[in-house]
């Protein structure tokens, strides 16, 4: 339960940068123009797998206006990766020296005085390739006879991950019923409004400044310093506004790398903005996964054991894919108690664009398989899907053996609320069904494969003479509203108003290091750092207040709504503004500075806290065409204490649109390694008028590890939807959808097969 009534927290507010954005004043990387700036373009491989024999840029360099052409030979040739602690997983040269491994991989980059000239120059670069045999699917690439994509990597297996607890075989023996299924989960494009972009400026003093679209300014500072042989402190990354990330913008991308190489060669600023097509074919994508799921259950609905194997299409390089491999396997167990659980994940290299993290981080795939299979098992055994989920669900105080400790959990209330909602709908017409799915998600990762020497999150708060507050954070606002969240936490802690707080973020020179916006970590981790920094500053202020007010030391002082007062006698006090002025005089004119940080300790293997939810999707199927009509998405959600209810609604709507897209629309078909729909005509995303109704029931819980009891609320909501839609189709038509996206053709095929099976009986 919530611990207190708050003055700022839990009051809906618009994002503090909303006006700047909707009036076009916000400066995105695309808007940055510097004196003498050049424009860069990237030549990309037309082959999925080929040796680079020779690159001849003579003709390009002769084109008037072209200033430089760079290739792998102009780089340090460092194989980089975001899993910095593990050398073998640092496998990507962004301008490769020897061979290309996917269509769209950068081969050379041009800088010219205009974008048009740079683009024209690409056609004048002559590359000799020796085309090599290529392989595109993980189940093919893992075969002995498949071509080798990375030298020395046997059977193209990039990373494996084993998760196990309990005696799995014994637990299966106790099961009365065992079910096995294969699933195929598709990839998905991040589809940020802002494509990847960078303006790099290397100056003669040896310093590199990069404006870029990033989820973590600190990661990019460190990663770019690494590939360019600079010290971290000599690289400044600026990201004042970012037009979306969704998991795709915290590894080095080709815009950042190539603009940096060109700028260092020319000592001039170079801007590269990827086109929409480049973003589609040569960024990264949600990891496509093949899942084999075997589940054992008792007649009364008690879960015994689960054993799953997963083969993921890793594409050409590792990136964040190694994390997705682990998290998919972990969340595949969620949110249930298994006596025995075993997961073996294999990430397999293929000659396709790399796969990586994307909102949900492997969990949407895992839940699509798990939550559908649970409903099918319930149907097989005549069990109630709500009851079975309640019976086996996580509860407060549960320990996922060796993995995680659950300190707060509102799953049961979520299930109860959705059950009530579904039952209130009564009997549905023919061909219409409501499907449910429950899940949970992490509030920030504990793992440190990046090998950061810094605290996971940090904040510095400075109080000015007039009571205004400068809040410096390293967490990154990518449109999700984290600056607003931090301003709310700071205002609540200091006892001031949101408009007193000025948030500074997205600048590595002026903001403390922070791992950034991924893994649903900022509200909890950066929020704790901000809270700690503000408590530090407030304590300093209150020391002066005690002296000023001359009160008995047994009294507690606090600040609320800019009023410094005795907690027991709130009318006795003084205005916050007066106190600040006095305090500064007492400090010889120094401003009040508070510091805070957060690094998780003794919180298991994955995350300090977990959100929980259950979602229901109400859908109707046209039995003749297979078309799906979605009426409503209803979610019951435990994110601890909501910080900004309006921000939460924004996250829910965004997640629903992305997750529904994943469930029935968005797909990335490839032919011989070439993406077939790299444009917004053929790649389908839900537009605003087509969004079904979405609503949310918040479950009141309190997470002791979170700031003011808060947990994640942005990413986990992407996880349940595909499974819930699958279950809606199952309930409406009695067919089992084992492949994503759930298309009309796949529905009709399943209906035909069902008819044939019934005819045989």
């Amino acid at each position: 339960m919530s611990h207190a009534k708050y003055s700022v927290i839990n009051t809906p507010v618009h994002n503090i940068d909303g006006v700047a954005k909707v009036t076009g004043r916000a400066t995105y990387t695309f808007d940055v123009t510097l004196p003498g700036m050049l424009y860069g373009k990237i030549l990309r491989s037309p082959h999925p797998h080929a040796k680079i024999l020779n690159i001849d840029a003579t003709r390009a360099l002769e084109l008037p206006g072209v200033k430089a052409v760079v290739t792998g030979k102009d780089t340090l040739g460092i194989k980089q990766g975001i899993w910095r602690r593990y050398e073998e997983l640092c496998d990507e040269q962004i301008l490769p020296l020897e061979k290309v491994r996917y269509i769209g991989e950068p081969v050379a980059a041009v800088a010219a005085v205009t974008e048009e000239i740079a683009e024209a120059a690409l056609d004048l670069i002559d590359v000799d390739y020796e085309v090599l045999p290529a392989v595109f699917e993980p189940l093919e690439a893992i075969k002995k006879e498949a071509p080798t994509i990375h030298e020395g990597v046997e059977r193209n297996v990039n990373v494996t991950r084993h998760i196990e607890w309990g005696d799995v075989d014994e637990a299966f023996e106790e099961a009365d019923y065992i079910r096995e299924d294969w699933f195929k989960c598709s990839g998905q494009h991040h589809m940020c409004m802002e494509t990847r972009a960078a303006v790099s400026s290397f100056t003669p003093d040896g310093k590199l400044t990069v404006w870029t679209s990033t989820q973590s300014a600190y990661y990019h500072q460190a990663l770019l310093a690494g590939v360019f042989g600079l010290r971290d402190g000599d690289v400044r990354v600026l990201a004042p506004y970012v037009g979306g990330g969704f998991g795709g913008k915290f590894e080095i991308d080709s815009a950042q790398f190539c603009s940096g190489v060109l700028s260092m060669k020319l000592h001039k600023p170079v801007k590269i903005v990827l086109t929409r097509e480049e973003d589609f074919i040569a960024s990264k994508r949600r990891t496509p996964m093949f899942y084999y799921v075997r589940t054992g259950i008792k007649k009364d609905g008690t879960f015994c054991a689960r054993e799953s194997r997963m083969f993921s299409n890793g594409g050409a390089y590792t990136g964040m894919g190694a994390t997705a491999l682990y998290l998919s396997g972990f969340f595949h167990s969620f949110p249930y108690k298994w006596r025995g659980y075993r997961y073996d994940g294999y990430r397999v290299y293929t000659n396709t664009m790399p796969s990586t993290s994307m909102r949900g981080f492997g969990a949407p795939q895992a839940m699509f398989c798990s939550e559908q299979q649970i409903d099918w098992i319930c149907a097989d055994l005549g069990l109630d899907p709500f009851e079975v989920r309640r019976k086996n669900g996580h509860t407060e105080g549960y320990e996922v053996p060796g993995q995680a400790f659950i300190a707060s959990c509102g799953l049961e209330q979520c299930i109860n609320e959705i059950e009530k909602w579904v039952k209130s709908k009564g009997k549905l017409p023919a061909n219409r069904g409501i499907g449910i799915s429950s899940c949970g998600f992490m509030s920030g990762g504990i793992f440190n494969w990046f090998d950061s020497p810094y605290s996971f999150s940090s904040a510095v708060v400075t109080i000015n003479f007039d009571g205004t507050v400068e809040l410096h954070v390293g967490c990154q606002d990518i449109g999700q509203g984290s600056n607003t969240t931090m301003a709310i936490i700071a205002a609540e802690t200091l006892g001031v108003k949101i408009e007193d707080i000025k948030v500074h973020s997205g600048d590595t020179d002026h903001c403390p290091a922070d791992l950034g916006a991924w893994g649903s970590r900022q509200t909890l981790m950066a929020g704790n750092a901000v809270k700690m920094a503000c408590e530090d500053a407030k304590k300093q202020l209150l020391e002066f207040a005690y002296a000023e007010m001359g009160i008995n030391i047994v009294y507690d002082l606090d600040i609320k709504d800019r009023w410094v007062h005795i907690v027991a006698r709130p009318e006795r006090g003084l205005p916050y503004g007066d106190l600040v002025k006095k305090a500064l005089r007492g400090k010889d004119g120094q401003r009040i500075v508070g510091r805070g940080y957060y690094t998780p300790h003794r919180k298991g293997m994955i995350s300090p806290a977990y959100s929980y939810m259950m979602q229901a999707v109400d859908a109707e199927i046209d039995p003749e065409t297979g078309k799906i009509k979605i009426y409503e998405v209803m979610t019951a959600h435990d994110c601890g204490q909501p910080i900004n209810p309006l921000g939460l609604i924004g996250q829910l709507e965004g997640a629903a649109s992305m997750a529904l897209g994943y469930a029935y629309l968005e797909d990335m078909p490839f032919e011989d390694g070439k993406m077939m729909n790299p444009n917004l005509v053929d790649y389908k995303v839900i537009k605003a008028p087509e969004m079904p109704k979405t609503d949310i029931i918040e479950i009141d819980t309190y997470e002791p590890e979170g700031p003011y009891g808060a947990k994640e609320a942005g990413e986990g909501l992407t996880n349940p939807t595909a499974a819930a839609l699958g279950n809606a189709v199952f309930n409406a038509m009695g067919i089992q959808m084992k492949e994503l996206p759930i298309t009309p053709e796949r529905i009709l095929k399943a209906l035909r097969e069902k008819k044939e099976q019934e005819a045989q009986k």
């Binding site: 003749e624 078309k627 629309l665 078909p669 005509v681 053929d682 537009k687 008028p689 087509e690 009309p744």
Partner: protein
């Protein structure tokens, strides 16, 4: 990237036709909802763009009980969608426009531009053919009126030659017992149709079928009339079995091409279903009308 081009902005139809006749490598733009996409892809790179968006003499909606409906070529989709008289007399056109792409596109795109572009997946073509519309086009030398179902020649090709502009669409006044319906099949309601079907039914006084038109969208190189299916219905007393049979014939008669959005088999199947459904809907309207 869009190539550089010369921009021509005529103030009148006469000037537009003269400018078009004068410039060989010239494309007409009237909203650019289709043209700019292919220009961005580099598939079309004209030296001149002739912008007739501001030729106001071609922007009109006129209705006369005897003469029928006349829509000027530069009339926007949104103007058609919001026209009271069209809503009253040709509701199928409004229903079609409401699902044609986004409001932004409908605000800017024009009926003439849409028909001249001749995308077989376009929405207005099948509906207007089902409504028995004709189209007027012309150049500085003269004008020509042809039935709309003869206007389309191939993918993105019409009877028009260089120098020709679409001038007007004419839709006759419906006969007393007439109905017309259109539906596209897609995953998102306002998206382009993966396939589509328009059907119109005219009934005799005795309730038998006087005329039927079935026009399929994205089922071949042009908005496709499936005449065998139409012939099946004429002169008969219509019922569900006939609609289903017509659907089956239509699914055999059409020539859709597979792409990533649907296989050929699925397209044929859905075209059959839509044909059946639109015939039934048009028939029910015809029964109710007059």
């Amino acid at each position: 990237m869009i190539n550089d081009f010369h921009y021509l902005k005529p103030a009148s139809l006469k000037e537009a036709l003269a400018m078009y006749a004068e410039h060989d490598d010239c494309k007409v733009i009237c909203g650019g909802q289709s043209l700019l996409i292919v220009m961005r892809q580099g598939m079309v790179a004209p030296e001149y763009l002739l912008d007739i968006k501001h030729v106001k003499e071609l922007s009109y909606i006129k209705f006369d009980e005897k003469d029928g409906l006349r829509i000027g070529a530069t009339t926007t989709h949104r103007e058609i969608e919001k026209s009271d008289i069209i809503a009253k007399k040709y509701p199928v056109l409004v229903a079609m426009e409401e699902k044609l792409a986004s409001i932004q596109t409908r605000n800017w795109g024009t009926i003439g531009g849409n028909l001249a572009h001749a995308d077989p997946a376009g929405d207005p073509g099948p509906v207007l053919i089902a409504l028995n519309a004709e189209i007027k086009f012309g150049n500085s030398g003269g004008e020509k009126v042809v039935p709309l179902d003869e206007f389309f020649v191939d993918y993105f090709e019409t009877q028009m030659e260089h120098g020709d502009l679409v001038l007007e669409v004419h839709v006759p006044t419906p006969e007393p017992k007439f109905g017309c319906a259109y539906q596209k099949f897609n995953l998102l309601d306002s998206d382009m149709g993966i396939v589509a079907a328009a059907a119109s039914v005219t009934l005799n006084a005795d309730g038998t079928c006087k005329d039927a038109r079935i026009v399929l969208g994205n089922a071949g190189p042009i908005p496709l009339r499936v005449t065998k299916a139409e012939d099946l219905l004429k002169g008969k007393k219509l019922d569900d079995a006939l609609f289903a049979q017509a659907g089956t014939i239509a699914s055999e008669e059409c020539a859709p091409v597979a792409d990533i959005h649907a296989s050929e088999e699925h397209r044929r199947h859905v075209l059959g279903v839509l044909t059946k459904r639109m015939l039934k809907k048009a028939f029910e309207q015809a029964q109710k009308s007059a």
